[in-house]
């Protein structure tokens, strides 16, 4: 066991993948000498050289587009998008090319590209630096979409993403980069798309991923003091979705609250609510409730705490599932 921050765990995971496979490349803006603005790629260029860790020109469409080309030539590029809000120039390459190439080529062309995106708010940033764009990508067939919430998962999930024969959109909870946890560097690799019950409970299932998992665990502790038992499930993977684990939990508790930072309207929680309703209709004591961002652009940072789901809003939703 080693204690690592989430950011460092990602670094160690990429390092290990690069050691194991000489075709693994890291590319993006400022990922080389600087080690990325969050230092997640710190030291990789020093250790693996400029041919494998590429400070790219400032152009996200270019970064993803050339990563696709490199993959066509047998490489496994791990691309860093500097902030969530800057993935949009690359959306064309991701949606029209990366996601569809395998199917269009009748399976002859594989694109093992990982697009790492630091996501979410809570760091007091200016606009475009606090977004949660996961729903766009989860909606796009052909992409695997995962979101890590802690250092131990970060370490295994990034390695599994790099090993994946499919393109993976990899969300990293930027405000948790500095959170530490014990990481077993030699632990066996779990199913990359399995959800995980991170807090067993009996009264309400709380579904979360990425940065919201920690908030939900805090809510579970607070609820426990009031005698209410929350079961917190970390989805880890949005596409594919571990619907069996989710339904098993909801059938047990009969209540479900979904938490994410992205706006609720048209958000990933809507997919969860619909699926759970289809599968657990007769077990549900209340409708699936969603707690998330409002249907507004991400607000100025001084009021972001009101926008982000917090303990109180989660507990309020939990209460409402009992008042139905």
């Amino acid at each position: 066991m080693t204690t690592l921050t989430l950011g460092r765990a990602l670094n160690e995971g990429m390092r290990r993948a690069m050691e194991e496979d000489p075709k693994v490349l890291v590319m993006g803006e400022d990922v080389g000498r600087l080690g990325g603005v969050f230092r997640v790629t710190d030291g990789l260029q020093k250790d693996f050289g400029e041919e494998r860790v590429i400070d790219t020109p400032l152009a996200e469409s270019g970064i993803v587009g050339t990563a696709i080309g490199l993959a066509l030539r047998g490489y496994r590029p791990v691309v860093e998008i500097q902030f969530d809000g800057f993935v949009f120039p690359a959306t064309d390459q991701i949606v029209t090319q990366l996601a569809k190439m395998h199917m269009r080529s009748l399976g002859t062309v594989g694109l093992p590209v990982v697009v790492r995106i630091p996501c979410g708010g809570g760091i007091g940033a200016v606009e475009h630096h606090s977004e949660s764009p996961e729903a766009y990508f989860a909606h796009t067939a052909g992409l695997r979409v995962v979101a890590c919430s802690n250092a131990a998962d970060a370490y295994t999930m990034i390695r599994q993403a790099i090993a994946s024969p499919d393109p993976v959109i990899f969300f990293e909870p930027k405000r948790r980069y500095w959170d530490k946890a014990d990481v077993d560097l030699d632990a066996p690799l779990p199913d990359p798309h399995a959800a995980k019950v991170v807090q067993p409970g009996t009264d309400v299932t709380v579904l979360a991923y990425g940065p919201s998992v920690k908030t939900c665990l805090e809510a579970a502790s607070a609820a426990a003091e009031e005698g209410r038992s929350l079961e917190v499930v970390d989805l880890r993977s949005l596409n594919p979705l571990d619907i069996d684990a989710i339904t098993a939990s909801v059938r047990r508790t009969g209540r479900c609250v979904v938490v994410h930072e992205a706006p609720v309207f048209g958000g990933f929680g809507a997919e969860l609510a619909a699926r759970i309703t289809e599968r657990c209709f007769y077990s549900l004591e209340a409708p699936v409730l969603r707690v998330g961002g409002y249907s507004t652009p991400y607000p100025p940072s001084r009021i972001e705490d009101h926008y982000l789901p917090d303990l109180d809003r989660i507990l309020d939703a939990v209460d409402r599932t009992f008042g139905w």
Partner: protein, 376 residues
């Protein structure tokens, strides 16, 4: 010509090269350039000096407000004052500016009160001024986006049929060296060229895009890119306020009279960190910074004014005092900037009433009320 003879060597940092337009040397010598004659009165020179010193003061104050936690972030213009004041003072009331996030000096020239720049960096709003009022669009953080907006705006000016008349204006898009790699910027060049639009592309090449030096973006000097798109490009000493003024003035005048776009590359240096969260010691040499310090945009104007007897010690002192006073006011105003009410996030999302906004806003207000009802 063979292909081989046309191939560019990998770009290395240079001193600006022979094409650099300069009217005031780093030592403060006034030199002439055949294409850019410039008559400036002593009054105008002193005014430019004053502008440079005041915006540096505003910038320095914002950096220190950030260190003290009053701002969340600041993108300093240190070293780029001449590029911004020179180009900013070339503008007239009918021109429209499309800035990045670093154009505090241009904002100043457009009459945007310094405090209004601070809101987004403090996190109380996403912008603090009405673009139409100042001929100065909102700061744009997404690299390169604004160059297309500027181009479209210029296409609008064209369609208004005012080019060549006193009502003509031009659009001017500011962007950095890093931005020249973005698709949007290259598309803006294409659209502007094809439309022959009245626009000036003003690139402040400060040598860095965060940690990436220019050679990560280009193999050739940036101003030469213009030729391939079909309009002129010129490289100007970005630390020379007079050259920036003369060149931008000429480019704007060309645009206003229907002669199409120009790319101006202001060759300068980002003397500070990329933003207050950046640590340049991780990627660049102190000696580079020291070398560029010798080309300081303010010192050379001061040297010229003093040597020519155009300004006295009293003048210099009064300018310093004014800069201090502006900074002190800014500090006071910044500390007094209130946080927005939480409900502000629902405002202005749509121009017309929107049922989901109303619903969420009411639910939010009702939710907040539940806290007030809880007995202490």
């Amino acid at each position: 010509m063979t292909i081989d003879s046309m191939r560019a060597a990998p770009h290395q940092g240079d001193d600006g090269g022979p094409g650099l337009v300069q009217l005031l040397t780093p030592e403060g010598e006034r030199v002439e350039h055949p294409d850019y004659p410039l008559d400036v009165t002593a009054d105008e020179l002193r005014g430019l000096y004053r502008d440079l010193v005041v915006v540096r003061g505003i910038d320095r104050e914002a950096v220190s407000l950030t260190r003290q936690g009053e701002l969340g972030l600041w993108a300093s213009l240190l070293g780029q004052e001449a590029a911004q004041i020179g180009s900013g003072r070339a503008l007239t009331g009918t021109d429209m500016v499309f800035p990045t996030y670093r154009e505090h000096g241009v904002a100043y020239c457009r009459g945007v009160e310094p405090i209004k720049l601070l809101g987004m960096f403090r996190g109380v709003n996403h912008s603090g001024w009405n673009p139409a009022e100042h001929g100065f669009h909102l700061y744009t953080i997404v690299i390169g986006s604004q160059t297309l907006h500027a181009t479209g705006y210029a296409m609008g000016i064209q369609r208004d049929g005012v080019l060549g008349t006193p009502n003509a204006g031009a659009a001017i898009a500011y962007f950095g060296d890093g931005a020249t790699s973005q698709g949007d910027v290259n598309e803006a060049f294409v659209f502007a060229s094809v439309a022959h639009a009245p626009i000036v592309f003003f690139c402040q090449n400060n040598q860095w895009a965060i940690s990436e030096p220019l050679e990560r973006q280009s193999r050739i000097p940036l101003y030469r890119r213009a030729q391939g798109f079909g309009f002129p490009g010129v490289r100007v000493d970005g630390n020379d306020v007079l050259a920036c003024l003369a060149v931008t003035r000429a480019a704007l005048e060309n645009a206003r009279t229907g002669q199409g776009p120009t790319l101006v590359e202001a060759y300068t240096y980002r003397m500070g960190a990329h933003t207050t969260t950046d640590d340049p010691t991780r990627y660049r040499l102190k000696s580079d910074e020291e070398a560029w310090k010798l080309k300081d945009p303010i010192e050379r104007v001061r040297a010229y004014l003093a040597r020519e007897g155009l300004a006295s010690e009293t003048f210099f002192r009064s300018v310093d005092d004014e800069a201090k006073a502006v900074a002190a006011d800014l500090r006071k105003e910044c500390r007094a900037l209130p946080d927005p009410p939480p409900g502000a996030m629902f405002e202005h999302v749509y121009a017309a009433p929107h049922p989901l906004m109303t619903e969420e806003q009411e639910a939010f207000a009702a939710y907040l009320d539940t806290f007030e009802e809880v007995p202490a």
